[in-house]
């Protein structure tokens, strides 16, 4: 099976519910006054987070999503990961997705690192036997040593990132979706992580990563997709993107 992600004319409207609109009182009040008054005050704001996104990602692609804060990187990741359904447009995905969008998602802060490895494996629908057979490899790669026997709430952000990344990349994934977080790891770990990502790509998998780290983009990614205000402003190979950046600055 070939793995592929294809977005065709995808729009995503993000509905922001104000404090007021989350209470029943305003809904009832809206009924009473015919729904004009509070709506005029903007109780449900629709933010166009993505508009007209056309993107095809094929096997072997390691694509970086770059752009300013609020340009839609994480939203696009969430659409690709199937968390948000597009408001309009088509989304086709062939392959199993592993997403690491929130650093502490699926982590039980009270449980030990080892127990969390099991839990994250569980969420990946792996059998106990498979997880058990890989725990040592995960422990070694994470470099956390005896800290794995401590509750995760005692970890620093970087340690948590190490744990999450080690688990996410130890088990085979068709499509790996990562949000900006690797920066939490120290230089040595980022180096190790980059090597591992190369290996994953050699296994002909897809990786989509949102990042602000241009060095990381150059080291790891073969394609770049730059977003601005929810639209794609650049899509192409990394070398061309570097030229595009220079032209922008000049």
């Amino acid at each position: 099976m070939t793995h592929r992600i294809k977005l065709t004319n995808v729009d995503l409207d993000y509905f922001v519910y104000s404090l007021r609109s989350q209470s029943l009182r305003s809904a009832v009040f809206n009924l009473a006054v015919g729904g004009k008054m509070y709506k005029a005050a903007g109780d449900v704001a629709a933010v166009k987070a993505l508009s007209d996104i056309n993107l095809e990602i094929v096997e072997g692609d390691r694509i970086a999503l770059v752009g300013h804060n609020g340009s839609g990187k994480t939203t696009l990741l969430k659409v690709i990961a199937g968390i948000y359904s597009p408001t309009r447009g088509e989304l086709e995905i062939d392959g199993d997705i592993t997403s690491m969008i929130a650093l502490n998602a699926g982590i039980d802060m009270e449980a030990t690192g080892l127990r969390n490895i099991h839990k994250l494996g569980l969420m990946r629908r792996l059998s106990r036997k498979v997880i058990d057979s890989r725990v040592d490899a995960i422990a070694e790669f994470s470099g956390l040593g005896d800290f794995l026997h401590l509750p995760v709430r005692t970890y620093s952000a970087g340690m948590l990132a190490r744990l999450m990344f080690s688990v996410a990349t130890e088990f085979e994934a068709d499509i790996l979706v990562l949000d900006e977080w690797l920066s939490a790891g120290d230089a040595a770990f980022v180096q190790k992580a980059a090597q591992r990502m190369h290996r994953m790509v050699e296994d002909a998998k897809i990786m989509v990563m949102a990042t602000h780290d241009h060095d990381l983009v150059c080291r790891v990614c073969n394609r770049v997709c730059e977003l601005q205000a929810g639209r794609i402003v650049f899509l192409g190979p990394t070398e061309e993107w570097l030229a595009y950046r220079e032209a922008q600055v000049a």
């Binding site: 993000y14 509905f15 519910y17 989350q22 209470s23 029943l24 009182r25 809904a27 969430k78 990961a81 199937g82 968390i83 948000y84 359904s85 997705i97 997403s99 690491m100 969008i101 929130a102 502490n104 998602a105 699926g106 039980d108 009270e110 449980a111 839990k119 569980l122 969420m123 629908r125």
Partner: protein
Amino acid sequence: MPSPLMAALKDVGDGIRLAPLWWRLGLDQTASRFQRSILGPFWMACNLLVVAFALAFLVSAMMGVNLMGTFPQVVAGLLAWSLVGTTIADAQAIFLYNAGLMQSQRLPLTFYVFLHAQKAATNFLFQLIAFWAVLLVIGRFAVPHWTLIPAVALMLFVVCFQGFIIAIPSTRFRDVAYMMSYVVQLLFYVTPVFWMTANVSAKHRWVVEMNPLAHQVELLRAALTGHAPAAIDWWWTLGTAGVLAIIAFALLAMFRKRVVFWL
């Protein structure tokens, strides 16, 4: 068939296929709730034990009344309520509790509802053990009627359907979430848990007869105390399940894509 209905059906199918996952995650969440406690999940049984103790010793000693006659009925009613009523109060948190997971992994909405039902079933099982222990201690143990199994199974369906119906508006309107525990308290008093239907005057009997929760409690209570449940309780519960299923499915079809934005 219009596509929202197809998508809702697919959601249900995906949820069922993920059974091994919500089964294990449910056990895991139950276990982690009682982390660092010595009794662990047996704390769930304590609610039942405390009320049973209060009724059997404190009330009967202080009031000088012998409650032993209805004691097994009341404790069985409380046990039934954990599945009938408490699940209504808990349902508001179905999506809110799992907000982190919902925003980071693609799982069907039904997955979270099945997870909720799994936890309710686990809770019921622990309380059932406590129930039998109490009855053994006071020498009133009754072998449950075989219909307990289909009755609990039917109730778990009701728990899933009403879970949707409560969780979806609770996520959108947070007031509903807070309101639910008070609604359940009210329902508790109009449902024959502590009192028996037989003691209600004929004039007010309709309050019980028209209360679907009363039929659900009676269904479980009869089976728990070793009797065959009355046919009318079966019919009421089946009917309730049918109506709730339709509403739940309609809500799923209408709001499936939206729920994640409400978190």
